[in-house]
């Protein structure tokens, strides 16, 4: 064999740590001998949305198999949590799903409060839901914007980030942080709502509805975009349920399941909103387009919820937001599984307590992790370009996948 060809031979690593190794096979096709190629996408790649490595087995440009390799952002959250008191864990929770830190905090404090039977003042609940919904919009704006980037459209991304900026401004005014807040505390909040925020929120809803229409016109109903995303990565509802998919991934294939409706927490039962599900209008139920479409609809529903909060918010309630915070945070011995709906799906905390100030064990059921596990099942047989679009439609945050 000439030297140059020898250099080009694919050497496949068979590390014992790799759970699944797909050795390249030689395929006989007529008299031409072709060979499958292993392509490493990531951890440094523009569209793996962080430090995800995909081991892609290719036949030409067709994806034969995908093996996601995770763990590049593993920070031992669960082990750390065992050494920290309950309030000390909250900043670590922020750093799991860093795109929607508020939602992560909301889930965690809800779990601990349920464990300790803490009654939270009504005003605090309103602020929490308001911020959780604003965070949902912010997170979906990033998901939709980067999804446009994956499909090659750059401009909608900047329109989305422009609107996300005003959400971050509201957070910054209230708690001083723009990204990792440590805002929701067990039994209360770190700061009261800044007096300007309600007005800013009202202005934001008006502007954001226009952006919603604009993004729809520029991206969702763009013929090229629909051609790119419709009918690829079709996820069967049964597979989705069996794999533990949740959030837009599950609703995209027509399953009407939203923790906010099906297992209400906080004060979500007071608001009137629809659970967005995919449809067969532009693509097939369960395809990449429908996951995007569900996010677009959820964005609108979140705006509806925010409008209702702005109407119902107890303006004259002068309760101190820290009044219900227990002096000594000590959960009674026992265990709890509490789940909330984050922008990515069902975020569950399983906490075991032995009556100490620290939890004995914290297990996180991460929606992005379960959703990512479906990637190999729905991307076999498509092209590389489709793989990028399918991965983008899952909307993973590696901080949450690896924890």
């Amino acid at each position: 064999m000439p030297e140059i060809l020898e250099r080009r031979t694919i050497k496949h690593s068979t590390l014992a740590t790799t759970t699944h190794v797909h050795a390249p096979e030689e395929v006989e096709r007529g008299r031409l001998r072709t060979e499958e190629m292993v392509l490493n996408m990531g951890p440094q790649h523009p569209s793996t949305h962080g430090v995800l490595r995909l081991e892609v087995v290719l036949d030409g440009e067709i994806v034969v198999d995908v093996i996601p390799h995770i763990g590049y952002l593993h920070r031992c959250f669960e082990k750390h949590a065992e050494a920290l008191t309950y309030p000390q864990i909250i900043p670590y929770v922020d750093r799991m799903d860093y795109i929607s830190a508020m939602s992560g905090e909301h889930g965690y404090v809800t779990a601990v409060e349920r464990m300790m039977n803490v009654e939270v003042p009504e005003k605090v609940e309103y602020i929490r839901v308001l911020f959780a919904e604003l965070q949902r919009i912010a997170s979906h704006l990033i998901a939709i914007g980067t999804y446009g980037l994956d499909a090659g459209a750059f401009t909608p991304f900047l329109y989305c980030l422009r609107d996300r900026e005003s959400i971050l401004e509201m957070f910054e005014k209230t708690c001083g942080a723009r990204f990792l807040y440590n805002y929701m505390w067990v039994g209360g909040l770190s700061h009261d709502l800044h007096p300007d925020v309600l007005g800013m929120c009202r202005a934001f809803v008006k502007v954001n509805r226009e952006t919603h229409t604009e993004v729809n016109n520029l991206l969702t109903f763009n013929h090229i975009f629909v051609e790119r995303t419709a009918n690829i990565g079709i996820l069967d509802p049964l597979v989705a349920v069996n794999c533990g998919a949740s959030g837009p991934m599950l609703r995209g294939c027509g399953v009407k399941w939203d923790i906010r409706k099906n297992d209400p927490y906080s004060i979500y039962d007071r608001f009137d909103f629809d659970v967005a599900v995919g449809s067969n209008d532009l693509g097939t139920l369960g395809d990449a387009f429908n996951r995007h479409w569900v996010r677009m609809l959820e964005w609108e529903q979140s705006l509806n919820i925010i409008e209702q909060i702005l109407e119902q918010y107890p303006r004259n309630d002068m309760t101190d937001v820290q009044s219900a915070i227990p002096r000594r945070l000590k959960a009674p011995a026992g265990e709890i599984y509490s789940r909330t709906e984050t922008p990515r799906g069902e975020l569950g905390y399983y906490i075991v307590s032995r009556g100490d100030v620290k939890p004995w064990r914290v297990k996180v059921r991460s929606p992005a992790f379960s959703n990512l596990s479906i990637l190999p099942l729905i991307s076999r047989g498509y092209l590389i370009a489709d793989l990028v679009v399918i991965l983008g439609s899952i909307d993973i945050v590696l901080g949450e996948v690896d924890r």
Binding site: I4, R7, R8, M37, L39, H45, P46, S47, E61, G148, L149, D150, A151, G152, A153, F154, T155, L158, Y159, R162, L218, L219, N222, I224, F225, E227, R228, L383, I384, A385, D386, V388
Partner: protein, 367 residues
């Protein structure tokens, strides 16, 4: 008419005497004019791309370098020149180094046959448009060299896509060009431009030269739809030939990182970049000559002439560049199989129909 070449030759003869030396010097200086143009235009286009995209995206764009960021392209070029010029260890070194020069040579060579004005055309060939189509194919070879030479899977996939795409799209582009050539009866770009004198209504896009047609030019109306179809095909095809959005699959950054130029850095990358921008102008320039009257003024004899010719020609070419930039920042990217579908199943059938229709009409009107 005294051409730029004559003036230049006279000047250099006065310096160097009337020997072979002055002729060689004239040729070299004359050939450097498009090069100078490409570099100056490159600066404008890079700034234009940044500022237009910023304008479309509700941003300011570069603002720090010079007044309102006007010196940004110069800063960018300085940066690219200072960057380390790396060659991957496993690369095929000669092919890797040759590719950027070849791709630039291909783009530059196209400028030799572009009639910038009545007094300036690099080389007046009687098969000018044919020369442009063929020399443009040099880009395909060099992209394949770049992809193979880099010894990188992303580069290779990008290069393969690029070759498949550019070769496919040469067919509809050639058909669209043929539509005009059949009506004009010439492949010489200078005479095609001369034909379209006398204002906007004589441009091929709007029915072709009426003073040369039968029936006093009244029947040229039937040529207009054919020419619009040909123009649309040419424009879409030219986007694909220059790897611009929505046909930028060879360098799709979300899939292939940088496609065939993933491994390139420093000046080698700058050459790819400059070549892409040069091709953006040259495809626009060809469209200008074939459909929009080349250097002719749209107002007939007003503002027409050798000097204004440069202005009109560059202005028309730049407006094509503007539209390409506009499209780039608006549309998503097609998938590689959809790119092929558009070419073979949409553009080529319409292109064949346009050529057939134009041939019949040309016989009826111009023979």
């Amino acid at each position: 008419m005294t051409t730029v070449f004559d003036t230049l030759h006279e000047f250099l003869v006065s310096l160097l005497g009337s020997g072979t030396l002055s002729l060689i010097a004239t040729t070299l200086v004359y050939a450097a004019i498009p090069l100078l143009f490409i570099i100056l235009y490159g600066l404008v286009a890079i700034l234009g791309e940044m500022k237009i995209s910023a304008w479309l995206q509700d941003r300011l764009g570069p603002m720090r370098t010079g007044p309102v960021g006007l010196l940004q392209p110069i800063a960018d070029i300085m940066k690219l020149m200072q960057k380390e010029d790396t060659t991957p260890r496993a690369a095929d070194k000669w092919l890797y180094r040759l590719a950027p020069w070849m791709v630039f040579a291909g783009s530059y060579a196209v400028f030799a046959a572009l009639p910038f004005s009545a007094i300036y055309i690099g080389a007046r060939l009687n098969t000018g448009i044919f020369y442009i189509i063929s020399i443009g194919s040099l880009v395909v070879v060099s992209i394949l060299l770049a992809g193979w030479g880099s010894n990188n899977k992303y580069s290779m996939i990008g290069a393969m896509r690029s070759v498949a795409q550019i070769i496919s799209y040469e067919v509809p582009v050639a058909l669209a060009i043929l539509t005009v050539v059949v009506v004009a009866g010439s492949m010489d770009l200078q005479s095609i431009t001369n034909m379209q004198s006398g204002g906007i209504e004589n441009w091929f896009l709007f029915g072709g030269p009426k003073h040369l047609a039968g029936f006093g030019g009244t029947m040229n109306v039937i040529l207009i739809p054919v020419m619009f179809v040909a123009f649309a095909i040419y424009f879409v095809g030219s986007l694909a030939e220059t790897n611009r959005v929505p046909f930028d699959v060879p360098e799709a950054e979300s899939e292939l990182v940088g496609g065939y130029h993933t491994e390139y850095s420093g000046m080698k990358f700058a050459l790819f970049f400059l070549a892409e921008y040069a091709s953006m102008f040259s495809v626009g320039a060809v469209a200008t000559v074939l459909f929009l009257g080349g250097w002719q003024s749209p107002l007939g004899d007003t503002l027409n002439g050798p000097a204004m010719g440069f202005v009109w020609f560059i202005l028309k070419g730049l407006s094509f560049v503007f539209v390409q930039i506009w499209i780039r920042w608006t549309l998503p990217r097609l998938r590689v199989d959809q790119v092929m579908y558009v070419c073979w199943k949409v553009l080529i059938p319409f292109g064949l129909a346009a050529v057939a229709a134009a041939s019949v009409i040309a016989v009826a009107l111009y023979s």
